[in-house]
């Protein structure tokens, strides 16, 4: 499930001129990017507007009208995508599930980026034993699959929504830490860092003002690529029943519930599947595009 991440050399100073001259890469047609961007935009919009546009409450049960088919399969307008095994409106649940999943994904990526960048910056700037300790922690976490780490963390800390966001956020901070640390070390010999040091800037000023901005582009690429992975991780956990807990819904937990009704009512599973795939494929396409345009090494 991991995405192969090849991160660029620092895009600074003299390499920048070459970047401009490099011929544009023959990539996927722009149509894929436009579609992906519009899908993500639409999903975010729907997620934000969910409370305003859902026709029913997500927990409103009506056992008399359970397992109704969607409109296009002979259902009623009242439940455009049908109802689930407790008679709850699938359309409303789907919108709120998208909202939860996207919120956790954005929060998770944000936590990962902040924690990883800070960790990498501290580790690279301090050097010595602090660097070794932080690197050891990072390497240890990188060796174990994130799903297993997250499972253990859930068992220990419970499934409170905040805990879940933190677990998912910290599940891949190590990637950012590695890249940022690598950048910091690679930048140490550069002349503009030397110049800053000679003019009396403190190590922290150098780290924040001169090194940090130079780590942005690989971090942005990585963040966009891992967005899809975070969505997958959250929905896997929720699918397994250890992620988002009822009455809250996420795309994974919807699918987990639907799994028991695959034979009688397959649409219950198809809708969340389609939404998950749309989000993750769109995010991965955009991530791939960002990598192609920001990473000079993948241009050739």
């Amino acid at each position: 499930m991991s995405i192969d991440i090849r991160v660029s050399e620092p895009i600074v100073g003299e390499t920048e001129d070459k970047l401009v001259l490099a011929p544009p890469r023959r990539g996927r047609p722009p149509a894929a990017r436009i579609i992906s961007l519009s899908i993500l935009f639409l999903m975010i919009l729907l997620a934000l507007a969910a409370p305003a546009i859902t026709p029913h409450d997500i927990s409103e049960q009506s056992l008399l009208s359970r397992l109704q088919p969607p409109v296009f399969a002979g259902g009623t307008d009242d439940h455009p995508l049908g109802t689930d095994h407790l008679g709850r409106d699938v359309f409303s649940r789907l919108l709120f599930a998208t909202r939860t999943t996207l919120f956790i994904a954005f929060a998770g990526v944000f936590i990962g980026v902040v924690a990883g960048t800070l960790g990498g910056l501290i580790s690279g700037t301090l050097g010595g034993w602090a660097d070794q300790c932080l690197s050891a922690v990072v390497d240890a976490q990188a060796a174990v699959p994130t799903t297993l780490v997250a499972l253990t963390a859930v068992a220990l800390a419970g499934t409170h929504p905040l805990v879940l966001v933190l677990i998912i956020g910290f599940s891949d901070y190590y990637r950012y830490a590695r890249i940022v640390r690598g950048q910091v070390v690679a930048l140490q010999g550069r002349s503009f860092i030397e110049a800053a040091r000679c003019s009396g800037a403190s190590p922290w000023r150098i780290a924040m003002r001169h090194v940090l901005p130079n780590t942005f582009s690989p971090v942005v690429v990585l963040a966009s690529l891992s967005f899809a992975e975070i969505v997958v991780l959250e929905s896997s956990l929720s699918f397994l029943g250890v992620g988002v807990q009822p009455p809250n819904v996420s795309l994974g937990s919807l699918l987990g519930e639907a799994r028991n009704y695959l034979i009688s009512t397959p649409w219950l599973a198809i809708f969340p599947c389609v939404v998950i795939v749309m989000i993750t494929v769109a995010a991965a396409t955009i991530g791939d595009w960002l990598r192609a345009s920001l990473d000079p090494r993948s241009r050739t």
């Binding site: 991991s2 499972l151 253990t152 695959l262 397959p266 993750t280 991965a284 396409t285």
Partner: protein, 268 residues
């Protein structure tokens, strides 16, 4: 412990399980027991965790080993073909497929295959374990998750190697294309692929946890999920221990394979 449990029994049980000691004491006791080869017993079934696990591990291996072989086979062939036909339609679709396949979660693939092959076509069973037919869907689901990644990497490494001078030399010596590509090319391109395969093994283990849940497969992954749900810590700890050991072992195998494939590493 259920809330309606009488207080006396509750106290008795806490004392029996040693839950009254502080965390550090409990941890030390666990560590000491580990050294003696005692991994504890499940809180629920009261059986040794090793026994519970060993019942399930063969089932997981029956799933992961064929999936790994299938994934490597598809990855190698697909990657080689794409590299040899650089910029062809197949090559470009492979790149797209890599991005798409990595983005689709394991359980979505699983459910999609169930919907297609079990529900619509009624060809294969949707879950459980029994005949050879039960293997097809889970193995394919598990293999699909990693094969695109392998194929993409094989392609990238192979393209790099194909541009080298020694490849042109091997061809101009009059060697057959198969020898040139497989012996001179693939052997040089395979090292980074091996590293990723070692890492993918971890992904495969995590994928097995999910895939087993989708297909109601009685493997070790589901045991771990059940342990998480029931907070059966002794079982969970042992599960994580076994999975981690398996991953470390896989990476060790990769390091050994490095030496076998590359004489330069053996020399050192």
């Amino acid at each position: 412990m259920p809330p309606e449990m009488p207080e006396a029994q509750r106290i008795e049980l806490r004392a029996k399980l040693g839950l009254n000691d502080d965390i550090a004491t409990q941890y030390l006791r666990y560590g000491e027991a580990l050294l003696r080869g005692d991994f504890g017993q499940s809180f629920f079934s009261k059986r040794p965790v090793v026994e519970l696990f060993m019942e399930r591990v063969p089932n997981t291996l029956l799933l992961t080993v064929p999936a790994f072989v299938l994934s490597v086979a598809i990855g190698l062939c697909g990657g080689l073909w794409a590299a040899l036909r650089h910029n062809s339609l197949f090559d470009r679709s492979l790149t797209t497929a890599t991005v798409v396949m990595q983005a689709i979660p394991n359980f979505v693939v699983g459910i999609a295959t169930i919907l297609i092959f079990s529900l619509s076509l009624r060809l294969l069973p949707s879950g459980g374990m029994g005949t050879w037919k039960h293997f097809i869907l889970p193995v394919i689901t598990l293999a699909l998750a990693t094969c695109a990644n392998t194929a993409h990497l094989v392609r990238t490494c192979m393209l790099e190697v194909l541009a080298q001078d020694y490849m042109r030399y091997a061809r101009s010596k009059g060697l057959s294309p198969a020898v040139v590509v497989l012996k001179h090319g693939l052997r040089n391109a395979i090292l980074p692929v091996l590293t990723i395969m070692g890492l993918q093994f971890g992904g495969l283990v995590a994928g097995a946890v999910v895939t087993e849940s989708v297909f109601a497969w009685p493997g070790a992954g589901r045991l771990v999920i059940d342990a998480v749900m029931k907070r059966d810590f002794a079982l969970l700890q042992f599960g994580i221990l076994v999975f981690s050991a398996a991953i470390i072992f896989a990476n060790l195998l990769v390091d050994v394979a490095y030496g076998l494939l590359d004489p330069r590493i053996r020399e050192r």
